[in-house]
Symmetry: C2
Subunit: 382 residues, 2 copies
């Protein structure tokens, strides 16, 4: 892959090439082998990434087949893909990149764009951390059905997480998160699983957008298991719930956790495809509405809904709570998900028949966006 | 007290009279008795309040010496005093008043002013609720040292709670809350206690303001017990802490809970005096700064600090969490404490030597505002 560095040297072209490369990869190892003919040494092309990997490059090279390596390189690639795709929409503003390390082990790369023309606040974060799991966290995982023995178990976690809050109230907010977890049990055995999801939070309901978003996710899921989309869609509606208001945070998407079958490789392939489905699910909606006209009332409604987003994230979101209660956590990266502006009004109740009240109806009673695609099975509690 | 209704009929004069009356009350029962000569029927004057009491008037009349009655009437009076004092500062905007009932028992009166010239959002809420304590709440109280037997214990709670977010960044935000709790144990014995506090959240540090605020609270405390202020001041700094940021929400004030000595009457008298100290501690600061000039940068800093306020209230505040997790809770009254606008920036770090960084220093290391007034005793965990 080294030759590309010499041929092209512009981030936009890089991005396009890099997207092309991910297609090329799908043609299998034969093509990759022929590419490696041109580049005998060195193989991990860090030029594609927003920053250097967290793990030492030499270690990554030596452990190419380890899932830890594969996950780290995948999230770094997806981070760069997504940031560059958003920069193309923004036109004038760029992401700032913060590469940070954690004294307990590992670190992350936080990319943030603030006060853009199109994106009011966009955060795309990857983290690769390892260490010993505090007893409290072990207990929490046990209650979720994990068979773990011991109190301070070595763990590894790698994930990508992003929240994009656009300026225009006609462009929805998107959130996605894909993660891989390994814990070494008291007897030395390693347990692993994947988790993640992608979900959309519109301020004004647009059925065509909702359909496009859900269909893109469904198509990506269906390649792996046709049961995935209906189940993970239901799980998503259950997870992103604001019980005190009796409403969902948005119109859902997919959400799953504890995925450890049929094989590690197949799980990784699924998670990779879902992460790669983010751009085609979302960027068309940005293009479609970023220049839409809007009123002050519509902007205020957007800010009010952002207040609800803050309520969900700070009160109920497991990831945020787990993160903030972890000593030494990088709270700036965790709270990057919060909007630049939010608003709380007392007793705001949109009048019946307004677009605002139409949205609320869907948030109170999640809709099956794709006809005939419904899951009757129970999904786990969060 | 009925005669006043006939003599004067203007809310401002009412308010002034009512403040005068509270002084008159202090002269004791002799004067009250002579007043009752003019008004044989002697009823509770609800004209002073923002809304009718929650408890049936006849029941209140019949149980005048019951602490439940005394507390309900006190918080209704303080609510009206405070709302009217703020309306005098606002000049053009008035509080809207929502009297609500709760099907499980009791209710409340929520007074809110929004988008005012001086007050961006001001909420003054009283609630008087009764019912059976859920087992979860009983457990929580047990861990706090209460000797409670049984799972569904009859309880009564009455309290006043207010948060005032002014428009001008030079005017601090104030919060106060005073409450009374009764639980009937499995053996029929009633346990009671008081709790509460008043605390200030400036956006720009003004030492004269801080001194005035703390001195007013100290003077009110000292009338009851000279140990109260230093202990409750320390407790306040411990309670209003945002651990993930390593900073306090504001510059403190007082905070206490589980107050049940020396006598019920003396506790009530203390809590009443502290509630009455809110206006003299705060309104002079509003008068002093409400017309101050400020810049866009100062306004943005204020909104950023309001984001921290939201973080504390939604993640750590026991009252908010307890409220939101209670089925049938009136979330609009609980979340009334949230500002109209808040802002979250990634990695906002004020430059050394700026007024913003001066504030942060005090939030990181709470100051003893009153010289020589320090508490070396441990204060309870929250």
């Amino acid at each position: 892959m080294l030759f590309t560095v010499f041929v092209k040297n512009c981030s936009i072209v890089f991005y396009q090439r890099q997207r092309g490369m991910s297609k090329i990869r799908k043609y299998g190892t034969l093509f990759t082998a022929s590419l490696s003919f041109f580049s005998q040494k060195n193989t991990i092309n860090t030029k594609d990434f927003m920053a250097l990997p967290i793990t030492n490059l030499e270690h990554l090279e030596k452990n190419k087949d380890d899932m830890k390596t594969k996950m780290e390189l995948m999230i770094l690639r997806v981070q760069a893909d997504f940031c560059k795709a958003l920069e193309l929409e923004e036109d004038c503003n760029k992401f700032i990149v913060d590469r940070w390390t954690r004294k307990e082990g590992g670190g992350g790369v936080t990319c943030v764009m603030q006060d853009g023309k199109i994106f009011e606040k966009a955060g795309v974060n990857i983290s690769v951390v390892s260490g010993n799991l505090p007893p409290q966290a072990v207990t929490q995982m046990k209650t979720r059905g994990k068979q773990l023995q011991g109190k301070n178990l070595p763990f590894f976690a790698a994930g990508i997480s992003a929240v994009i809050h656009p300026v225009n109230p006609m462009v929805p907010t998107i959130h996605f998160n894909y993660r891989y977890f390994e814990v070494q049990n008291g007897d030395g055995e390693v347990q692993w699983w994947f988790g993640g999801g992608t979900d959309l939070t519109p301020y004004y309901l647009n059925t065509a957008d909702a359909l496009h978003f859900h269909e893109t996710l469904k198509n990506a899921c269906d390649k792996h298991d046709v049961k995935y989309y209906p189940k993970f869609k239901k799980w998503c509606d259950k997870y992103f719930n604001i019980p005190h208001r009796g409403e969902r945070r948005g119109i859902g998407g997919i959400f799953f956790d504890d995925l450890d079958s049929p094989t590690q490789e197949k799980c990784f392939s699924f998670v990779t495809d879902m992460a790669d489905a983010v751009i085609p699910s979302y960027v068309p909606l940005v293009k479609r509405h970023k220049q839409a006209k809007y009123t002050r009332v519509e902007r205020e409604w957007q800010l009010l809904r952002r207040g609800r987003y803050v309520e969900f994230n700070l009160i109920y979101d497991r990831g945020t709570k787990f993160g903030l209660y972890t000593p030494g956590a990088r709270y700036e990266s965790i709270l990057m998900s919060l909007p630049l502006h939010a608003r709380w009004e007392y007793m705001n109740q949109p009048a019946e028949g307004t677009p605002e009240s139409e949205l609320l109806k869907v948030l109170a009673n999640p809709r099956d966006w794709i006809e005939g695609c419904h899951c009757d099975d129970e999904v786990p509690d969060n």
